[in-house]
Symmetry: C2
Subunit: 278 residues, 2 copies
């Protein structure tokens, strides 16, 4: 029953978890969170979500795909040992709802709920009225690997993925944000590692906060993030778009769409985050 | 410290909870879920969310307002006794993250996470680029109180609120859905009961499912619903808009916006629901 993580790529190694104990309804996993996913005041939220997503997957291997996962970030994750506790809330016929908690040194960092199932067993009908984002061609986008060394030092996260930002919404990098509250780009993992449901959980929180495009650089701590995985991604590049439409009360929502190479909307996510200070 | 519910209106009576026990971090409340909120296969999800929201409010009265609440619906709520257990996950300076569970006769029905705080202490800046929905004037909309008696019998919920549906997206009621996947209308509680954060939790799941407007009537069970309360609603009518952009894999997302009488976007919610059968 145990589904071993593929350790062949950095993403898989860094999100791997090992089972420490298990009862009928609960499991505990150990993780060693990698420093390479640091950005701003802590480890990237998408990286942490993918790691939790893997622990949940290994808790219920017969239900390998998240349909929905909601994470509340209560403290910054840091590099080093972490414990992920999972618990089955309700086991249904075609899906299972679970709770998870990520803690470090006895401090809760993330508490989450999720429903997992098997996308391969779901109806194949797709009726999407949303349109893929208009985005500059890949070769016209800015690779984050070309970012200034200073930026890459405070955000080593950028070297963990191949991210090409659409220049239409990358003016903030040179002090000229568009003001529209949009950031989008092409995304894939390096090492030929194709997308799956776990890398989608990374993708929904991998781009810089949309507040950069509003002229408000700085760390925007996530309060809550819910991702709906709406299909299994096809091989190839993903297009990821973040947008905000409501900055209010010291917070903003960030809506995320992830489209695969076949123009399927494979993930939708929304987070509520605090505005950067200053 | 205890904040007693106002029992003057039906909504307040029906969502009232009474504290059964409390420790430093946990509390248990008893509720008597009212049959008037029935719709389709169970009690309305927004009604249940508002009841949980009240239990959380009474758990942390110094943090009276939900910023975000995420509910996973694992079984249909039914009229009668219910137990709501709440637990503080992390108490911060300006906000608190909690977990809640609603059970009936030992069966879990809803598991939820939430972050509560105090909107009155948050920055007052609002920068909303979203536009209020274009909606027919109130007097041109269809009051659900005028619905056929047969419909009102299977959905007594409709008599608990004053809901006026925009005719542009109400054609499904006469067999002519628009096909756009939108349902919207004017909303308020009766008895002069003005909106507050709890009635917003009702409002985000009070309208018929958008699948009606796609020509797919029937009950659409919610898998997950997250509501962000983005401001305290002003007195007067609310405008509520639901839309879906992605029907796929046997499920659909339903995005909800709630605008108050001052054109402020006071709540944003999204749910993942299963398509009606057949």
């Amino acid at each position: 029953m145990s589904s071993e993580p593929q350790l062949s790529t950095e993403f898989d190694r860094d999100t791997s978890v090992s089972e420490v104990s298990r009862t009928e309804d609960e499991a505990v996993f150990a993780a060693d969170l990698a420093p390479g996913w640091q950005v701003g005041g802590g480890l990237n939220g998408g990286y942490l979500l993918a790691t939790i997503g893997r622990a949940l997957q290994q808790t219920v291997p017969k239900h390998p795909h998240p349909y929905s996962i909601s994470a509340y970030y209560v403290g910054p994750g840091v590099a080093g040992e972490a414990t992920i506790s999972t618990r089955v809330v309700r086991l249904g016929g075609s899906s299972v709802t679970l709770a998870a908690e990520l803690a470090q040194q006895g401090q809760r960092k993330i508490t989450a709920l999720a429903t997992y199932g098997d996308h391969d067993t779901m109806p194949s009908e797709v009726r999407t009225t949303a349109q893929p984002p208009e985005m500059a061609p890949l070769e016209q986008c800015f690779p984050t690997s070309a970012a200034p060394e200073e930026l890459r030092r405070i955000a080593p996260l950028m070297e963990r993925m191949d991210l090409r930002l659409d220049p239409a919404y990358a003016g903030w990098a040179v002090g000229a944000p568009s003001g529209e509250g949009i950031i989008q780009g092409w995304f894939r993992l390096p090492e030929g590692r194709e997308s799956d449901v776990l890398s989608l959980l990374l993708a929904v929180d991998a781009l810089p906060p949309v507040t950069f495009d509003l002229g408000r650089p700085g760390w925007a701590p996530t309060v809550e993030l819910t991702a709906h995985v709406r299909g299994l991604p096809a091989p190839g590049w993903l297009r990821v778009r973040h947008a905000t439409r409501n900055v209010a009360g010291g917070m903003f929502e960030e809506d995320c769409e992830v489209w695969d190479s076949t123009d399927r909307l494979v993930a939708q996510a929304r987070q509520l985050a605090r505005l950067p200070r200053g």
